[in-house]
Amino acid sequence: MSIEFCGLELAHRVINGSGTFDAIAARRVFDEGLRTGFPFAAYVSKTITLEPRAGNPPPRLWEAPGGLINSIGLPNKGLDGYLRDDLPQLADLLGDAGGEAADRRAVPLITNVMGADSEEISRLLEACQERGEIAAVELNVSCPNVKTGLDIGADPRQLEDVVRAVRGRTQKPLVVKLTPNTADVAACAQAAEEAGADAVSLINTLRATALAPQATVRPRRPWLGGGTGGLSGPAIRVVALAQVEAVAARVTIPVVGMGGVQCARHARDLLDVGATLVAVGTESFRDPASAGRIARELQSLEEG
């Protein structure tokens, strides 16, 4: 069985959520085990920006009921560093990471990018267009608009304008990673589709925060070095299911559903409300091989 997604051929329906699996670091840690057991049917890079970013000061993590707040701050080497250092390593790893010894094939690479405006995004897409190692581009629109402070993807009209302005810069499939911090995610998805997106993915993390536990210091400090962060994991699963359902009912392009997936049952729920693929994020932290387990369980659910 193979799955078609935006013209790519995938071995199964489970991929990773951007920023939740660093394949280069994982290869250093797990080496051959990662190569032979590569769990994702496509690999999504963490978000790449034009300029390098160091990310937020620590602490960057807070454990919440059934979830995790992260305030990582999108550390990355910048576009040039990514293309120069990471892309060859990823291409090498993904080149023969798809499946058991006999039928190994390349795992498609989806590069996730973020820019503050159409100008920046255009430059990112153009650079991706040049590189054969990249199979598709995911556009993270959870980037705060400099003027409003809101995510540029939170307003359907703004989102439509941005996607329309950048759409022509690459012929590769363009996935728009929606923000869940909005009143009407289905309207945003529809706007992305109308502007030419080939797929949408959701949900990204829910805006959340925590205070430092020591109650003695006043005024109390936020725990996270970055101030606020985003909630992921089981706690957001039922919110994700509602948003994916609403989006899938509104658009005709494929939907990548994610948010709190821990087992095939959760993946099945997302597929049953209309997702084509499912992404695993935070659960990979608990077990790096969880996505592989989920993909196998999903296949036996489908057969059984």
């Binding site: 797990f30 990310g55 620590p58 960057r60 919440a64 009921p65 059934g66 990582i72 790096p288």
Partner: protein, 266 residues
């Protein structure tokens, strides 16, 4: 670096013994890779991981491998929150999830240089396996808060002690002992693990004396294998290091300071 299998594994608890304020958890791991001193594993109880204070724990917790003997890994636990509490409840025969061994361990001392092991509180754990691995004799300096914690010193042999409450050894900081040692032998190599304040003290003392120091840091971790970028500490000269893959053992020279959250529970 020892290579970890690519998946968490269900291992069986073989023992849980009290050691003063601490507990020593033993886990059967006959097929696991032999860890290097300073490496750690991400642990979670296989059953009921969650449902504690604030519905936590949810993520696995990092624990230094304190010893690896006869196909068993030993861990030193201090009950300071929902994760360590749940692990402390485990009994022989129960299962836990383990991912590892992970991270960069201690580098052996160059020939002829004396290893000076400095530990504080539950942070002494990785120094035990380090001592096991050293061929030459080493000096061990351990600091503890109080008498129930001093019991942890049994994990290493021949330790000189310092305590905050004066209940054993030097009444004061373990870094006082360190300064004293370095004054006599500035040719040593320091290996340290403990609370952030202690590690910062060790770093400063060693920097002044120009003694190389390897610090085993801690940080809140979600994954332990470089995936989340959550476990960072600032690197001297800018940017961040991931404690899980660039550490936990980090050369003191690449740090400006040891920050507030980068150590073991005080």
């Amino acid at each position: 670096m020892s290579e970890a299998p690519f998946a968490r594994r269900a291992l069986t608890v073989t023992g849980m013994e009290e050691l003063g304020a601490y507990r020593v958890l033993r886990v059967a791991d006959p097929d696991g890779a032999a860890p290097e001193p300073g490496q750690f594993a991400m642990l979670a109880a296989a059953e009921r991981w969650g449902g504690g204070e604030d519905e936590r724990p949810y993520l696995p917790r990092a624990f230094s491998i304190a010893r690896h003997l006869d196909g068993e890994s030993h861990f030193l636990l201090e009950d300071v929150g929902p994760g360590s509490r749940r692990l402390c409840e485990l009994r022989a025969g129960e299962k836990l999830w383990s991912l590892g061994p992970l991270g960069q361990g201690f580098a052996a001392p160059p020939d002829g240089r004396r290893a000076l092991l400095v530990g504080g509180g539950v942070g002494i754990a990785p120094l035990a396996i380090l001592q096991d691995s050293l061929s030459a004799a080493c000096t061990v300096l351990l600091g503890f808060r109080d008498a129930p914690r001093v019991a942890g010193a049994a994990l290493l042999s021949g330790a000189q002690l310092a305590t905050d409450d004066g209940s054993a050894g030097h009444h004061g900081l373990v870094t006082d002992l360190l300064e004293e040692e370095i004054r006599h032998d500035s040719h040593a190599v320091v290996y340290a693990c403990g609370p952030a304040g202690m590690l910062e003290g060790v770093r400063a003392v060693c920097a002044r004396a120009e003694v190389p120091a390897q610090l085993a840091l801690e940080a809140g971790m979600a994954c332990g294998f470089g995936a989340c970028f959550g476990c960072v500490v600032p690197r001297r000269g800018g940017g961040y290091l991931r404690v899980c893959v660039d550490g936990p053992v980090i050369d003191a020279a690449v740090l400006e300071h040891v920050e507030e959250h980068a150590g073991a529970p005080a």
